[in-house]
Symmetry: C3
């Protein structure tokens, strides 16, 4: 669906949105505080869905790898000698030892720090001292355990399920939708990690509406009118749309564009994208915010009912980095400030929702996307 | 009952006390370490009884408020525009957000920091942006949730029960008993918070006897003989009596009176109160220590079986603050030292009681009030 | 069994070792992460077996005492006026108060810091103020609760069971085996405590093989060949043997002997011990490492499935301390470095084993003792 189409259909999705908000209320308390619900989410959602874990630019060359934490699991994501991106559980097949500490690096093989068992970047065990003395031992039986892995628009996703829905099938509704943003070639200029004292669902609900913008984000509200949202994805696991940016402005501290445009800015059919910021939530752990001059991506990692780790990257066009007009900090600082404003109110919600006085409250018409997100969540949890 | 009366009845309550101590032993281990017992206490005691939460002098003017933590709950206690003291759960009716952070302040209304829903100090919702677009939405349905609140001698008490015993009925046995101490007009000069590694019941048991004074409180023991206790309340939820203060002394670092007297000191019928300190425990979270020149009040807030938060205030006559003989630090420093001595031995008891070797031990005749307190506790818990 | 004998029987125990390793795999995940298994271990192992708690040299004179933590328990180990070593639960019989804080000291009696009840070093209650007023109270009923205690080669062991197997019976298989090491007269020059993020069983498994030495301990591997182990105790609760030390070397930073020899070094029949280091694991909490010039002893104290507290002592001949060639730091520094290398890989194993990808892995022939240790552990836990 092109942008032009959804602008035409504006009345239609306004109606769709209202369908969700009529009488819609926030989720009951247990969804935000219960360890049992959290465990169920880990099982039904975070062990079954495709999870954003990084971007292919993080491992540009054969031998590059990074370590990623997925819930209680640690994974090694590596580009092997044939340039294939692979993922493995970070666990030696001998005595279970964590193979790689630290966050990233470059290696020709993966050697266990304990007894020096050594694996190729394709996961095959290639050396295990003294094990040839053991009758019946076959190296081929002791490859690293692989994890399902796939790419969408240059982003790396993993899936911990034994037999997951193919990645292409999962992302089929978004096929081609973002291709003109060139995201597979972008590079991150900065990653900031946030340890947020709030349930992960509060982060999604917060991201999905700008009803809170006037009070919470005074600087943002000056650049993008809080009531300018036009949503084209209004139900299901992918939700969102765009908001207007005031003429000639950019979402930066200075209000000016901070880098070479990321998308096909020369394409006359995309001219109106120059004054728009697109916000999409990708169930269950990605927030995708596409600006004319950069793409911001949040990864969400629930740690407990009350705590979420968030990693935020700012991606730019690879050619932007070398140019004299490259001012990435102008965007990073702007959103770092705005992120912290959001995390603060999310933490306040977490606190209040834990009270015996909390009851589900009524969503306003400006909160149709949070309501739609809740519906999708409940569907996945088998509650509706 | 006047002081004169209970002095006459001295032999009587000595006998009463002995009734409790004959064979009385400390509580079994589970009452001090079990999370299940702790949860039961939160339910049967801290969610059903009137709890000390502050003093009316903390919110002297209309618009003044303070935030108080009661177990896992946060409450806003405010003096509204008509000067009525009110209490509310600190939870927005929209999305559950904590409304007020910080400990106290002054405001004309309560505005949610998230989406700017705004409530009057009487709790009524007075502004909710865009909600008039929602069919059937009525502001009157979304007032802040009130909490039961009452005053006794100027102290503010709350009760989380749906339908609690009226405060006046609860405190009826103490009606008029403390009125000559003028506590409703006193003001706190200082609050100190203590994080104590002991079960809350150990704090009560410690407060209720001076058998430990010679070894634990050498300075206190020089000012008030450890064996001078005369108790007039020997069973039930309110327990205690007075101890003698050595002639011409005061419970201060210097041993001298540190402020204008708090009670009707000119009243000839109260002359002997000048040489006495009155100690009363008010079930389940108040310790009331009335000295000739100041009133000390402890609030107890159990955090876990092994941990109690204690807030201690030192109250003085409002006229005392302006006088040249006002030396509040002389009293504060004295009791801060004495408090810490007590918390230390309470923490040591907590440690030892957790041992498999612990068995209930025999109370001495000097520990009749701890034994009576235990009985009342067990009665409320439905164990006797 | 003498060293000479087991050298002769070398082929025999090689075969024994192989019996264990053929097909032996590491323990399943639950043994390293489950709180239920941990609780069961505390019950079946740490509340039933003889546990190393110290050495008699720590309380050389009558009146000396030390406090030791055993799981959740605190014990007072004292040498009484008749020079008998005794152990008591650190719990007052009155109100359960912890009697002694701190780690060690010298005292003529044990007085409770709360109400001054006082006990002799033999545990008898000798003073309890005001308790003579209580009808039927008899001091003889309120002695400190004793703990079972015994000595083996100068080391102090306790047993929390009501009716434990006698210490002599437990250690019968080791009777006389270590006597020429003079361990009952040695003195510790240093104790280092380590807080290790690994299950206690991983520490035993790590101690029991040198398959990991080439990669983990480059300095150690230069002094003692990793494949030189000769084990004479290959099944049951006591496991281990010796490794060769390169001619003229010692396990120190400098590679030189650091102190007067600890064992009967003048005995010509023991000459080959000068080039050997003996490593024995004593189930369930002692690692005994006997070098020509010092004895290193580890005490293990499991704190949770994922955490173990380890106390390491370096013992020397009492005559060594005064000599000019005494360089205890040369040994201490060497093993402190080596210990930390071990704890690091143990912590990495703990992390990896917690993964859903972990499966029991195959032990190599160089890991026969870890496999034997696992068997003994499972037997004690009633799993085989």
């Amino acid at each position: 669906m092109s942008v032009a189409t959804h602008t035409t259909d504006r009345r239609l999705f306004r109606r769709t949105a209202e369908r969700f908000t009529a009488g819609a209320k926030t989720l009951p308390q247990r969804y935000f505080v219960s360890p049992e619900v959290f465990a169920e989410e880990q099982k039904k959602i975070f062990s079954k869905h495709w999870l954003l874990i990084g971007h292919q630019s993080q491992i540009a060359k054969a031998g590059d790898y990074f370590v990623a934490e997925v819930g209680d699991e640690s994974l090694i994501i590596a580009r092997d000698q044939r340039s294939t991106i692979r993922g493995f559980y970070n666990v030696c097949r001998h005595r279970g030892t964590r193979l790689k500490e630290g966050t990233c690096g470059h290696a020709s093989a993966i050697q266990c720090p304990y007894h020096a068992w050594t694996y190729g970047l394709d996961g095959r065990l290639i050396r295990a001292p003294h094990m040839d003395e053991v009758q019946g031992f076959d190296k081929a039986d002791y490859s690293l355990h692989p994890v399902n892995l796939g790419l969408f628009e240059g982003f790396i996703f993993v899936n911990l399920a034994d037999d997951p829905m193919p990645l292409e099938e999962w992302f089929a509704p978004l096929a081609g939708k973002f291709s003109h943003w060139n995201m597979s070639i972008l590079r991150s200029a900065k990653r900031i990690e946030y340890d947020v004292r709030a349930n992960w669902k509060l982060i999604f609900e917060n991201y999905s509406e700008c009803y809170h913008c006037p009070g919470v984000h005074p600087a943002l509200s000056k650049l993008t009118p809080y009531d300018s949202a036009e949503n084209d994805l209004c139900e299901g696991p992918f939700l969102g749309g765009f908001m207007s940016i005031n003429k000639g402005k950019s979402l930066t501290m200075s209000g000016n564009a901070c880098a070479l445009g990321v998308n096909g800015i020369a394409d006359p059919g995309r001219a109106h994208d120059r004054d728009r910021v697109f916000y999409y939530s990708i169930f269950p752990n990605m927030l995708l915010s596409m600006h004319p001059d950069y793409v911001m991506v949040h990864q969400l990692w629930p740690q407990s009912p009350k705590r979420t780790l968030i990693m935020c990257d700012w991606f730019f066009h690879p050619k932007a980095f070398e140019r004299p007009d490259f001012q990435s900090e102008d965007a990073i600082e702007f959103w770092d400030m705005t992120n912290k404003q959001d995390w603060h109110v999310c933490a306040l919600s977490q606190q209040g929702i834990a009270s015996r006085a909390y009851q589900p409250g009524p969503y306003s018409p400006r909160e149709s996307i949070p309501a739609a997100w809740d519906q999708e969540y409940l569907r996945v949890m088998g509650q509706v």
